[in-house]
C-alpha cells in the first residue's frame, strides 16, 4: 500500500514528469536493446532450427546426428585443406551476398544478381585472355574492373527503368538475368568457344588467374582457397564503410528506409536507385570474376550453381550487414564443403545438407515467424514479472 500524498502537492511537484521522462527513456533504450538483440539472435536461431530439423531427418533415416555433424565439421574446418574448401565455396557467396545486401539496404531487391554474375564472369574470361602477356599486377586489376563494370552495366538498364518509369526491379533484373545467361551460353558456344568439343571459353593465362593462398603464402598447407576470399573480405569492409561513412551510402540507406523522407531531405531517389543497383551489380559481377579467375580459370555454362540466388539467403541471414555477410557466406560454404565428408564418414546422405540450407533459407525468408516467437517469449516473461 502506497501512502497517498495530498494531490495539490503532487500536482505542483515536477515528480511525475521526471518519472515519465525517465520511463520514456528507459522504454526507448529498452526498445533499442530488444531490437538489436532480436536482430542479432534471429540468424542464430534460424541456423539452430535448421540443424535441429537436419538432425531429425538423420534420426529418421536411422543414423547418428552427432556423428554426422562432427563429420561435417571435420570436412569443413577439420584441417587447412578443409578450411580451404570452405573458404573456396564462401568466396562467390561473399560477393553475391554483398550485392544483394547493398540492394536491400537501398530498398531494392536485386533478384537478378545471377545474370550480373554471369556478365562479370564473361568479362573476366574475355578480358583475362585479352590481357595475356601483361604482368599479373596489371592484368588482375584490369580484369576485376572490367568484370565490375560488366555487372554494373547489366544492372544499369533495370535501374534506369525503375528510376524513369517505375518498372519493378524484381521483374526487370530477373528478365535481364535470363538475357545475360542466354547471352553467355551463346557466346561460350559460339564466338568465344575454346578449341575442342566442349562449349567453354579458353583457359586464362596464369597472369590472369587469382593464385591460391597456399601458392602466395607458401607456409600454408596446400589448399584450394584463392585470393578471391581476401578480396571478398576487403569488399565487405569497403561496403560497410560506404554505407556508414559516405554520402553515397547515407543516401542509399535513407532511400531504403523511407524514400519519401529522403526525397524531402533533398535526396534524388531516382539517382540513388540507379547508383545503388549499379553498385549491387558491380559486386555481383566481381563474384563471377573471382569464380572464373580463382577456380575454373575459364567460363562454362554451369560455372555458377545459382550463387546469385544463394546470395539472397546469405544477405538475409546476415541481416544485410556487410560484415555479417562474410560469416553467413562461410556458413553456407562450410555446409557445402562438409557434405561429402559427412556422407563418406557418417554414411549420411549429403542431401541432408541441402535440407539444412533449405530450412535456413525458409526461416530467414519467413523471419517474422522467429521475430514473432521471440516477441511472444518476451511478452510471457514480462507478464510473469509483473504478476509477482
Amino acid at each position: 500500500m502506497r501512502a497517498r500524498m495530498p494531490d495539490a502537492v503532487r500536482d505542483s511537484s515536477a515528480d511525475p514528469d521526471a518519472r515519465r521522462e525517465a520511463a520514456e527513456h528507459r522504454f526507448a533504450a529498452e526498445q533499442e536493446r530488444v531490437r538489436r538483440a532480436i536482430s542479432v539472435a534471429t540468424p542464430f536461431i534460424s541456423v539452430a532450427i535448421a540443424v535441429l530439423v537436419g538432425s531429425l531427418v538423420i534420426l529418421a533415416a536411422g543414423k547418428d546426428p552427432v556423428a554426422a555433424f562432427s563429420a561435417m565439421f571435420r570436412g569443413s574446418f577439420g584441417g587447412v585443406r578443409q578450411i580451404g574448401e570452405t573458404l573456396l565455396r564462401a568466396t562467390p557467396l561473399v560477393f553475391t551476398g554483398l550485392a544483394v545486401a547493398y540492394g536491400f539496404r537501398s530498398g531494392l531487391f536485386n533478384i537478378g544478381a545471377e545474370g550480373q554474375l554471369f556478365m562479370g564472369g564473361m568479362a573476366a574470361a574475355w578480358v583475362g585472355v585479352m590481357v595475356a602477356g601483361l604482368p599479373w599486377a596489371v592484368s588482375v586489376p584490369v580484369i576485376l574492373v572490367a568484370a565490375g563494370l560488366a555487372g554494373a552495366a547489366w544492372a544499369f538498364l533495370p535501374a534506369l527503368m525503375k528510376a524513369r518509369i517505375g518498372a519493378h526491379e524484381v521483374i526487370t533484373t530477373m528478365m535481364f538475368s535470363y538475357i545475360g545467361r542466354y547471352l553467355v551460353s551463346w557466346i561460350i558456344a559460339g564466338p568465344f568457344k575454346d578449341k575442342g568439343a566442349i562449349p567453354q571459353t579458353p583457359m586464362l593465362p596464369g597472369t590472369s588467374q587469382l593464385p591460391r593462398l597456399s601458392d602466395v603464402f607458401t607456409f600454408i598447407e596446400p589448399n584450394r582457397a584463392h585470393l578471391g576470399i581476401v578480396l571478398g573480405v576487403i569488399a565487405a569492409f569497403v561496403v560497410w564503410w560506404i554505407l556508414k561513412y559516405t554520402v553515397l551510402g547515407f543516401e542509399a540507406r535513407a532511400v531504403g528506409f523511407n524514400p519519401t523522407a529522403a526525397q524531402t531531405g533533398g535526396i534524388s531517389v531516382a539517382a540513388t536507385t540507379v547508383k545503388s543497383l549499379c553498385i549491387s551489380g558491380t559486386l555481383a559481377g566481381l563474384a563471377g570474376a573471382v569464380e572464373v579467375m580463382g577456380v575454373h580459370h575459364r567460363l562454362f555454362d554451369q560455372f555458377s550453381s545459382g550463387f546469385g540466388f544463394t546470395g539472397i539467403a546469405v544477405a538475409l541471414l546476415a541481416k544485410n550487414n556487410p560484415i555479417g555477410v562474410i560469416a553467413a557466406a562461410v556458413l553456407f560454404g562450410a555446409l557445402s564443403a562438409g557434405a561429402g565428408t559427412m556422407q563418406l564418414d557418417a554414411d549420411v546422405s549429403q542431401k541432408v545438407i541441402s535440407i539444412i540450407q533449405g530450412v535456413i533459407i525458409f526461416l530467414v525468408g519467413a523471419e517474422m515467424i522467429v521475430t514473432w516467437a521471440v516477441g511472444r517469449l518476451r511478452d510471457r516473461k514480462g507478464g510473469d514479472d509483473a504478476a509477482q
Binding site: 531427418v57 573456396l88 554451369q302 550453381s305 561429402g340 565428408t341 563418406l344 549429403q350 541441402s354 511472444r376
Partner: protein, 357 residues
C-alpha cells in the same frame, strides 16, 4: 487466448511439415541398405562415382552410371559410393575425397568434368579415373575415356523413323509428307553424332525423306524444346528425335500436344517422361550402365587398361534401341525387321554409320 494457441500450433505444424517434407524427399534418395542375401563373391575393389551438377535422379547418365555401380555391387561384391556435385567447385573436392578414401576406379560423369579429371589424375597415379562421355586428347596412364557410338543408336532411331513416316495408315499421327525432325541440345560431338546417325538411318530406308534439324543450344530449358518441337511439327514433321537432355522433354510435350510422335535419347525415356504413353516410339540409348559395369568388372578381374579412350558401340552393347513399350503390338513387322537387319549389318561391319553429316 485461442488465437495465441492456434498461432503456436500453426508454427509447430509448419516446422513439422518442413521436417516431414524433408524426410519424404530424402528417404528415397538414401540407397536402401542391401542385405547380403547369399554369400556374394568378395573383392576389395571399391568403386565410386562423382555426379555432375545434374545429380542423382536425373534419369540419365548419373542415374545410369549409378545403376552400373549398383550392378557391380550386387554381382561382383564391390563396395560403392557416390558423391553428388551441387556446383562445379565440388567436382575436384569430391574426386579428391573419394581418391583419399581409397576408391579405385572413380568415375566422373559428364564432359563438364574433363578439366577436373585431367587436373586431379596426376595427383593420384595409383587410382584409375573413368570419364563418362569424356574424350582425353592426351590420356595419362590412369585415365580412361568412356565414349559411345551415338551415331549407331541414332541410325537405329533413324531406321524406325524413316520406316514409320512412310506408313500413314499405321497411326493417325503420321502424315504423308515424309518429313522427320531432329532436336539437338548444344552442338557438341555426342549430339552431332546422334544427328548424323539419325539422318543416315532415315535415308537408308527412305531416301527421299527430309530430315529437319534444330539445335536449341541448351540441355536444360524445356521451353526451348517445346518451341523447337512446335516449329518442326508446323514444318510437317510427324516424328521427332530429340537428343537434348531435359530440353528434349519439352519436345516430347510438344509432340504429345500437337499429335506427333517422339523418339527419346540416352535412357529409355518411356520410363523417364511422365505420361508420355504412346507418343514415344522408342529411345536411342547409351548404355552408360554397361560401360561402368564392364570397367569395374575389368578392375575386379585385374585387367583394367587405362590410358586410352574406349568407345562402346552396338557390338559392345554400349548403345542400342529401347523397347517399343506401347508400340510393341502395333509396330509393323516390317519396321522391326528393318531394325534387326540394321543391327546385324552394323555388328557385322557391313554398314558403317558416319560420325558427321
Amino acid at each position: 487466448m485461442k488465437s495465441k494457441w492456434s498461432r503456436s500450433l500453426a508454427l509447430l505444424l509448419a516446422l513439422a511439415l518442413i521436417a516431414s517434407l524433408s524426410v519424404g524427399c530424402a528417404a528415397p534418395q538414401e540407397p536402401a541398405p542391401q542385405e547380403p542375401a547369399e554369400e556374394k563373391p568378395t573383392t576389395d575393389v571399391k568403386a565410386a562415382m562423382v555426379t555432375d551438377v545434374g545429380g542423382l535422379g536425373d534419369k540419365s547418365f548419373n542415374d545410369m552410371s549409378y545403376a552400373g555401380l549398383q550392378r557391380a555391387e550386387s554381382e561382383l561384391g564391390v563396395q560403392i559410393e557416390v558423391l553428388e556435385s551441387k556446383e562445379p567447385t565440388d567436382y575436384e573436392s569430391n574426386i579428391n575425397q573419394l581418391a583419399n578414401a581409397g576408391f579405385n576406379p572413380i568415375f566422373a560423369v559428364g564432359f563438364l568434368m574433363t578439366d577436373t579429371v585431367i587436373k586431379v589424375a596426376p595427383q593420384f597415379p595409383d587410382v584409375n579415373f573413368g570419364g563418362i562421355d569424356i574424350f582425353f586428347e592426351n590420356p595419362t596412364p590412369n585415365v580412361l575415356g568412356l565414349l559411345f557410338k551415338e551415331q549407331e543408336a541414332g541410325y537405329l532411331a533413324g531406321v524406325v523413323a524413316g520406316k514409320l513416316t512412310a506408313m500413314p495408315d499405321v497411326d493417325p499421327r503420321i502424315n504423308d509428307k515424309k518429313v522427320v525432325g531432329f532436336v539437338g541440345g548444344m552442338e557438341i560431338p555426342p549430339v552431332q553424332k546422334f544427328e548424323a546417325g539419325f539422318i543416315a538411318g532415315v535415308k537408308s530406308v527412305l531416301p527421299d525423306a527430309e530430315v529437319k534439324s534444330v539445335y536449341t543450344g541448351t540441355f536444360t530449358d524445356q521451353q526451348k524444346g517445346i518451341e523447337a518441337g512446335k516449329s518442326l511439327i508446323e514444318g510437317g514433321a510427324d516424328i521427332i528425335f530429340a537428343a537434348a537432355g531435359a530440353t528434349g522433354n519439352g519436345t516430347a510435350k510438344a509432340c504429345k500436344d500437337n499429335k506427333a510422335l517422339f523418339i527419346g535419347v540416352d535412357a529409355d525415356q518411356y520410363e523417364t517422361i511422365e505420361g508420355i504413353g504412346d507418343t514415344i516410339i522408342t529411345s536411342a540409348i547409351k548404355r552408360v550402365d554397361n560401360a561402368v559395369f564392364l570397367t569395374v568388372k575389368d578392375a575386379v578381374d585385374g585387367k583394367l587398361k587405362a590410358g586410352e579412350n574406349r568407345v562402346f558401340g552396338l557390338a559392345e552393347d554400349g548403345v542400342g534401341l529401347a523397347p517399343y513399350h506401347d508400340w510393341e503390338t502395333k509396330m509393323p513387322a516390317d519396321v522391326k525387321a528393318a531394325v534387326d537387319k540394321a543391327i546385324a549389318d552394323i555388328k557385322a561391319g557391313t554398314v558403317t554409320v558416319p560420325e558427321s553429316k
